[in-house]
């Protein structure tokens, strides 16, 4: 499957900024979401009503479809660990202050995990397959696996995205991740996935897999490479996230000669930041001639592993 467009809004200058992967510096504690001017894409009433996660998603999704010149994707699939958690918090606060009184349903309606995917179908008037995966740090990888199933079943295009909002009143990320220093962030990334392309070069997503409750990181990674016929020496770059140094120690053993980047230092921490990493990798492949293939290893939660492998393909003839 081919990745024919990517779009990300994050704490970094990623939106409509080709070549950003060469220019990013580590995210600092005082970072903030770099939102574009939404007035181009989102009506004033919707801008007031929609949460950050929703606005980022709508904007990235429209950018993606425009880039790949697709008006109606044949599947819409979103990965989000916590859904629209800001609206969840707002509704809980309304319950608390209302006592037995009436509560407006707006924030409840917009709090379900599939609000984003549902809103996209409404905006596009799209009746196709629509799903939302919500398995913590692997939500995005699950969405990509779902897209690969859709393409196998005959779809020619799928819109796949991920979004999570920074929200620390409801839960404490670090309780799950156990990171010594954490820069919590928000982000949304969308991608158009297609079964066929008509350009001279393309980015191909060769393999994506998840392993939940993994006992052996090294074995799981090697199995992934073997079962997808990926030669270790053909990998130019490894992007990874980790919650203990154990991950980077194992990566040093498996990939002693490859460049390795901890993408979490760039994206900040949110459950679906592996989607940021995929866009970062796509940008690298487009801009940097020395990089022809990238392995993304998501080990944000110690026992959960997400793996993606992408490469640049020159189409001959």
């Amino acid at each position: 499957m081919y990745i024919t467009s990517s779009s990300t809004i994050s704490y970094q200058p990623t939106f409509k900024n080709k070549g950003f992967s060469a220019r990013l510096t580590a995210l600092q504690q005082n970072g903030a979401l770099m939102e574009p001017d939404y007035s181009e894409n989102i009506a004033p009433m919707d801008r007031r009503r929609m949460s950050a996660g929703m606005k980022m998603s709508i904007c990235c999704m429209l950018d993606c479809l425009a880039q790949s010149m697709i008006t109606q994707p044949e599947a819409i699939i979103v990965g989000t660990a916590m859904g629209c958690s800001l609206n969840t918090k707002i509704f809980l606060e309304k319950i608390h202050s209302a006592g037995d009184g009436l509560i407006a349903p707006t924030s409840f309606i917009s709090s379900t995990h599939n609000t984003i995917a549902g809103q996209i179908s409404l905006l596009l008037k799209n009746h196709a397959y629509n799903n939302t995966h919500t398995h913590n740090s692997l939500s995005f990888e699950h969405a990509l696996i779902d897209a690969s199933l859709c393409l196998n079943e005959g779809c020619t295009s799928a819109l796949v995205g991920a979004a999570d909002e920074f929200e620390n009143d409801l839960y404490n990320m670090n309780e799950r991740l156990n990171l010594p220093q954490i820069v919590e962030a928000s982000g949304a990334s969308f991608f158009t996935i297609q079964s066929k392309i008509n350009t001279a070069s393309a980015i191909i997503l060769k393999a994506v897999d998840v392993c939940v409750l993994a006992t052996d990181l090294q074995e799981t990674t090697l199995n992934f490479l073997e079962s997808n016929q990926i030669n270790i020496h053909s990998i130019d770059l490894v992007l990874f996230s980790q919650s203990t140094n154990h991950t980077s120690e194992i990566l040093e053993r498996i990939f002693p000669h490859q460049q390795k980047i901890n993408y979490q230092n760039l994206s900040g921490t949110y459950f679906t930041n592996s989607a940021f990493a995929l866009h970062f990798a796509c940008d690298m492949l487009e801009q940097n001639k020395a990089v022809k293939s990238v392995l993304i290893l998501n080990n944000l939660i110690p026992e959960n592993l997400g793996l993606m492998y992408i490469q640049k393909e020159e189409i001959v003839g």
């Binding site: 660990a81 916590m82 859904g83 969840t88 918090k89 509704f91 809980l92 606060e93 319950i95 608390h96 509560i103 407006a104 349903p105 409840f108 309606i109 917009s110 709090s111 379900t112 995990h113 599939n114 609000t115 995917a117 549902g118 809103q119 179908s121 409404l122 596009l124 008037k125 799209n126 009746h127 196709a128 397959y129 629509n130 799903n131 939302t132 995966h133 919500t134 398995h135 913590n136 692997l138 696996i145 779902d146 690969s148 199933l149 196998n152 079943e153 009143d169 409801l170 839960y171 404490n172 990320m173 309780e175 799950r176 998840v210 392993c211 939940v212 409750l213 993994a214 006992t215 459950f271």
Partner: protein, 388 residues
């Protein structure tokens, strides 16, 4: 490749296991009653968190009700099966509330007092309950969680089946879970769609839905898996589809366009015609909007040859992300027992459509059963189960 159902587990207001659920369906006894805790009509599961924790020897504090209800249902469906290297095994669960019962408790505590302990502030993300259940069953690897509001349970079953079709799995535990929490009780209350009495699906005088809670899991296996486990196949999952209404964030279109597309495509996928369907377990929430939209879709698909249909939400209440899975388990029962399932509290046909649901637990030839689940975001799913 055929997808066989070899295990079912079912926890709802009408039973703590599949057999109790089926007995209640036969006896025509609804599990919906006025809740002592919440003061409204609810389909509550008759076990407290503490009681379920004791059954599984778990510390009471750390687990959301989703995890606990899910454990009960998953254990019943998984039975004594074990992890076997030769069988690629996975688990796909579904929930809309996840651990929000725990998170709302923390948030309300923190709004009331300044002294909440950080222990309460765990990330009860949806995947957490799936992982605890998978770990207890001894399943690892392809484990996922789906959340598409009230169609989640059906989408989890469908996703498991698709992973098997794509040869990524030989065997998968699929299902859905949702507990009652203040969040969903107040949320559906704010939409003004709760019937203060028993819900009356497909009745002209219906006033809304009753919320319920529960969990159900099905074990799906292919022939390779069956040849090793020697489990008995109960029936087959032959059709599935998910399509979108694209009409409104919460309401369904009166023409039922999304539901029409999904039923038609599920039939196509199962390679069946409308006359092959002998019973439909409807989404049938009892709201004015859903039952009209779904009835319109029935007429669009089946015309004047409408099969027997009913909504068992009159027994369980609307169990949200669990509904699609609980009702899938009822479809399996319908095929095994060769019975149509009743729709309680129905009196008068809807004037717009005149459709009359089944009101008796009655014997019939049941070859194929279709079940619908619709959720917020216009998310429409249909599954078809077939006799072997």
């Amino acid at each position: 490749m055929k997808i066989y159902i070899t295990g079912i587990g079912d926890v709802s207001a009408i039973g703590l296991n599949a057999e109790e659920n089926f007995n209640s369906l036969q006896a025509g006894i609804s599990g919906i009653k006025k809740s002592a805790q919440h003061g409204i009509m609810l389909g509550e599961v008759a076990l407290s968190n503490q009681e379920i924790c004791e059954l599984f020897k778990l510390p009471a504090y750390d687990y959301s009700r989703s995890t606990l209800l899910g454990l009960l249902a998953a254990k019943e469906a998984w039975k004594e099966n074990t992890s076997i290297k030769e069988i690629k095994t996975g688990m796909i669960s579904a929930t809309s509330i996840g651990g929000l019962d725990k998170m709302e408790q923390y948030h309300f505590d923190s709004l009331n007092t300044a002294s909440t302990t950080s222990r309460n502030k765990m990330v009860h993300d949806n995947g957490r309950s799936t992982e605890k259940i998978a770990e207890t069953m001894g399943i690892s690897g392809m484990i996922g969680t789906i959340s598409t509001a009230c169609s989640s349970g059906a989408n989890s079953i469908m996703h498991g089946a698709r992973l098997m079709k794509a040869k990524k799995l030989d065997r998968v535990l699929v299902g859905g879970i949702d507990p009652l929490a203040i969040f969903n009780i107040k949320g559906f209350g704010s939409l003004n769609i709760l019937d203060p009495t028993h819900c009356k699906p497909f009745d002209d005088n219906r006033k809304g839905l009753n919320l319920g809670e529960g969990a159900a899991f099905l074990l799906l296996e292919n022939e390779h898996s069956l040849s090793i486990t020697k489990n008995e196949a109960l029936c087959a999952l032959t059709g599935w589809n998910n399509s979108t209404d694209a009409f409104h964030q919460t309401a369904s279109s009166t023409t039922g366009i999304g539901a029409t597309i999904t039923m038609k495509k599920a039939l196509e996928q199962a390679n069946l015609s409308t006359s092959d369907i002998d019973y439909i377990n409807a989404h049938g929430t009892g709201t004015g909007n859903n039952d009209l939209s779904e009835s319109s879709a029935f007429i669009n698909v089946f015309g004047d040859r409408m099969p027997a249909f009913s909504s068992t939400k009159s027994f369980t209440g609307h169990t949200l992300a669990a509904a699609g899975a609980i009702e899938a388990a009822y479809c399996v029962h319908s095929i095994i027992a060769q019975k149509r399932l009743p729709n309680l509290f129905y009196k008068t046909a809807m004037k717009e459509t005149g459709l009359v649901p089944e009101t008796e637990y009655s014997s019939a030839r049941i070859r194929n059963v279709l079940t619908n689940s619709f959720g917020f975001g216009g998310n429409c799913s249909s599954l078809i189960f077939s006799q072997l």
